[in-house]
Amino acid sequence: MTNEELWQTALNELELAVSKANFITWFQNTSIADRQDGVIVLNVPNAFAKEWLEYKYHKFILKALRNLAPDIRNVEYIISSELTPLLQKRRRERSIAPHEEQLEFKEFLVDRETNLNPRYTFDSFIVGPFNELAHAASTAVSKNLGQAYNPLFLYGGVGLGKTHLLQSVGNEIKKLNPRLRVLYTTSERFTSELVSSMQNNEASSFKDKYRSYDLLILDDIQFVAGKVKTQEELFHIFNSLYETGRQIIFSSDKPPHAINNLEERLKSRFEGGMVADIGQPEYESRLAILKSKVLGKENYINQEILEFIASSVQRNIRELEGALNTVVAKSKLSGKMLSIPEIKEVLDKNTQPKRIVTANQIIKCVADFFDVNEKILFEKTRKKEIVKPRQIAMYLLREDYNGSYPYIGQRFGGRDHTTAIHAFDKISKELKKSSQLVEEVKRIRELYEYNNVN
């Protein structure tokens, strides 16, 4: 007889011995926790039940159990769950859930052991041409931990879904095999943990902790740049995990070779598995993402509005979501669906202004990036190291500033407009061939977009 059967049979007998109300009050939610050497340990729901069963019904219970299993000598009681039957009945929501516009402390959603946020899963991830490589690599890793691509290195700009993908892998692994040890952390937290462990003379427990994971996810790895001790520790942890076939996943805002102040041995290790990038979503993907977010908000949103938001917010998925939420909140307040001009007004106020950049800024950033003097760009020299920055500057003036070819020629020391056309064509063609140039152009753009050069 199993413990459940034994207790169930004993309960049937006890039910006859006591009144119905008493039976429900004291015997509901009890079970056998353990049975060893003739001693039965009973789970009881609360301290009241423990006292009552011990003092009032102990003899009945022991007798009922001994009738079924004569070897039982004693019964003990422990409190196991905080739920009493009375409480369960009361389990209905009393308060109205706060509106979704109310922000929460996001930190509380996070699993304390793994640092994963259960919200991020593959199911909620929208795949488009801009991220399909990264997505495919991540799913492959989650299906074949430590063997498919190790390490996996994902990179891409802010708000494009890197963290979502990383955490999805972690959550998927936890779902498939809860016993595996998973940790998601940011490189910044990694560093501060290392520092505090050194301060408290607990460096070895830090090392042991990180060497024990089956899957280690380090987000925003670019921030270890320039931190020598962190890089050294990371290097050893990496080796230890890698050698034992455990999976490591990194993310960064740029590819490994473009992270400055990063030791060569780390760079080469980052590149040793799979490096996948997440680009900027194109229109169709943006629309698909928006559509996935409108569930429950259909009253305030139609296809036309979605298309308008998708076309006006271009660079970043986080902004895209923000724009949608803003529009929904605004229409809830006014109690009707907004018209396109109204939405345009709302979005203009809230989203990052489109690039407003001056010709001077572009030229200055290009000069800074290639570490040449601004003035040299305007001189009539054909030195290779000057020609390239100059052509890139011309290309960017055309692309981002919308300068006319004659104007661009004029800017660069009174050159002919055909020179500007030539530079633009040349760089455009080069961009298709050379990924290094693509990266360079991207980083120059970042200079004037994010750092707001004056």
């Binding site: 008493n22 009393r94 509380f108 803003t326």
Partner: protein, 365 residues
Amino acid sequence: MKLNCNKNELYRLISLAERSTSKNPTLPTLSSVLLKTGKNQLSVISTNLEVGFEGNLSAKVEKEGEALPPIKTLISILYSIPDEEITLENQNNNLKITSKTSTSKIKCLSVEEFPVIPKIKKEKFFSIHQDDLTQALKNTIPAASLTHTKPELASIYIYSQGKFPITFVATDSFRLSEHKTSLNFPSLSILLPQKSAQEITRIFEDSAGDIDVIFNNNQIVFQNRNISFLSRLTEGSFPEYQTIIPKSFETQVVVEKNSILGSTRAAGVFSSKLSEITLSVKAEEGNLIVKSSSPDTGEYEAISTAKISGQDVEANFNYHYLLEALQLISGPKVFLGFNGAQKAVLVKGMDESGYIHLVMPMRGV
């Protein structure tokens, strides 16, 4: 059983005991109150199996004994008696209450059926002054969650660790309230259900002196000379909350409490269904603006002069949350610390160090 006692004192205790009874009709013992004589005193005991209440009052005991009358009946009868002194007496299965002007007999239940209130060994305990305890609970209760889906958030977290003093915390994940006491305890971590916490503030509000707090893994008892209140503890662990308390602020505002409290209350009148009001800080002008508008009811704007350092900020809040946070501040000046429109604002009294309140904003419109 036969005894004389003061009717008003008994009435007061019975009313407190009534809150710890159950209204479940299948268990009549839980909607009754146990009267039990002791040495020159009468004990009043009630429970709903979640909490247990025991109160004592002095009485002239002539004959020892116990009785278990339904509490509702007893309360109604006591309420109607105009006289001060009453006599309680067991008669067969009845409780006979005699005063100068009236006599009543209440049909009682069998005393055997009444549950035993669990006792806790006095191994882990501390003493706290009544004022400090009720203050700490009153400051944290409003932030506790009312839902049952996350029992750890529907509780007050009471903890201490090494040199950190005993601290009370509650959060419903939209706001958080922390109250540090000046007491120390080596290591403590308990989750007191929000309802029990509320009960404790009521029970001990009028009493003076120290309260002993005794606890084990499942239960906790709060007691002074006359009253003892037992509650179960919530299982589970409170979220790691220290990291969300901001250490630095982009905008710091110091403003008269009455002025911001008044304008927040008024702005609430015109808030929409979302209970949303806007706080706008203009650093250069030194102005804190509280405003709200609703397409249906109208709009409101109030400007208070404030001491401001840092940059301008404008954020939206649920005015209930803001109001509750502000009301709990005892001093005349309020400190508000902002970190942009999407991060929590820290609210505290300018001269208080123990109590802080964090409120998450609402998404901007």
